[in-house]
Amino acid sequence: MKAKIRKIVILVEETRSEMGKTVEPPTRRAAAAAVIENPFAGRYVEDLTELMEIGEELGALLTERAVAALGIPGPSAESYGKAAAVGENGELEHAAAVLHPKLGTPVRKVLGKGAALIPSTKKRGGPGVPLDIPLGHKDAAYVRSHFDGMEIRVNDAPRANEILVAIAVTDSGRPLARVGGLTEDQIKGEDGLR
C-alpha cells in the first residue's frame, strides 16, 4: 500500500428518536477516516499522481470499513459522501488529488452501482478541525430525504504533514424526513440525478 496510515477512526451514529418521536427503524450512518502522511507536504509538486493512487486505495479501504461498521452488505447502503482535511503544510489541491481522480471507482465497487456524483468537501486545517462529510443518495442526487451531512473530528489530526480522508455511508435517509420532493421509490437511478 502506498498510503502511510497513522490511524483509522470509525464513527457510527444511530438515531433512535427525534423531537420526542421514535425513529423506527433507527437511521444509521458510519464515517470511516484515515490519517495519512502527505507525501507532498511543504513543497510545490506539479504532478500529484501518488496522491491519486492513494485515493484509490483509501476509496476501497474506507468504504469497506464503513459498511462493515454498519453491518450491512455494500449494496444496502443508501447514501454516500467523501471529504478531506489537509494539514497546514499542504495545499487544498492535495485533498483534491486524493478525493477526485481515482477514489470513486472502488467506492462504487463496494457499494454496487452509485450512479450519482459522490458529494464532497475539502479544507485545510489544524489538528482537531471539524470536517463535514456531505451525504446524498448514491443513485439519485435529487432524492430530498437523503440530503444530509455528517461531522467528524479527530483531535490529533491532521498534523501539519498529514491529510485526514473520510468516507461516509448510510443505511437510510434523514430521521423523520418530511419535506417532500423526489422520493426513493420514484427514482430511475440511471442518470445519477433522478
Binding site: 427525534e18 423531537m19 510545490y44 506539479e46 500529484l48 491519486m52 471529504a83 495545499e91 487544498l92 489541491e93 483534491a96 488529488a97 478525493l99 477526485h100 481522480p101 456524483l117 458529494p119 464532497s120 468537501t121 475539502k122 479544507k123 486545517g125 471539524p130 470536517l131 463535514d132 456531505p134 446524498g136 442526487a141 435529487y142 430530498r144 440530503f147 444530509d148 451531512g149 461531522e151 434523514r174 430521521p175 423523520l176 424526513a177 418530511r178 419535506v179 420532493g181 442518470d191 445519477g192 440525478l193
Partner: protein
C-alpha cells in the same frame, strides 16, 4: 419553505453584489444550514428549495444541483458548505468547500441558513478531469 423564498433571493443577490455585481462571474455554488439545539435536522431541509432555487434563478438559470450540508449545533458551530460548478457538477477543478460559522449563532431556537458562491476554480487546480471549457452544460452534470 415558501416563507423562506424571499430570504433565499435576498441572500443570493447579496452574494452577487459582494462579488462585484455581475452574476456572470459566478462559477461555483453551495448551500447549507445549521439548526439550533431546540430544532430538528429536518428543519434544515426546508432550505433546499428556497435557497437552492433562488440561487439558480439569480444566476440566469444555472443547471446543476446545488450541493449542500446540514447539521444541528450550538452557537459557534462550523459548517463545511460543499461547492460544485453551477452548470456541470462534474467539473473537477471546481470541487471545493467553504467553512462558515457565526460565534453566537444559532441559538437554540434559531437556524443559520447559508449560500456560497465562488468565481472560479481551486487555486492551482491540477488533478485533471472534466474542464469547465469542455462542458455541454445541459444536463447539469457534464
Amino acid at each position: 419553505m415558501n416563507d423562506l423564498k424571499p430570504l433565499g433571493l435576498e441572500l443570493a443577490k447579496l452574494l452577487v453584489a459582494e462579488l462585484g455585481g455581475d452574476a456572470k462571474v459566478v462559477e461555483g455554488y453551495g448551500k447549507g444550514a445549521i439548526v439550533g439545539a431546540n430544532g430538528e435536522l429536518e428543519h434544515g431541509a426546508l432550505w433546499h428549495v428556497p435557497g437552492g432555487y433562488a440561487m439558480r434563478e439569480i444566476l440566469n438559470g444555472a443547471k446543476a444541483i446545488v450541493p449542500s450540508a446540514k447539521k444541528v449545533g450550538g452557537p459557534g458551530t462550523r459548517l463545511d458548505v460543499p461547492i460544485t460548478h453551477i452548470n456541470a457538477s462534474y467539473v473537477r477543478s471546481h470541487f471545493d468547500a467553504m467553512e462558515v460559522g457565526i460565534s453566537d449563532a444559532p441559538r437554540a431556537d434559531e437556524m443559520v441558513l447559508v449560500l456560497v458562491m465562488t468565481t472560479g476554480a481551486r487555486v492551482h487546480a491540477r488533478v485533471g478531469g472534466l474542464k469547465a471549457s469542455d462542458i455541454k452544460g445541459e444536463d447539469g452534470l457534464r
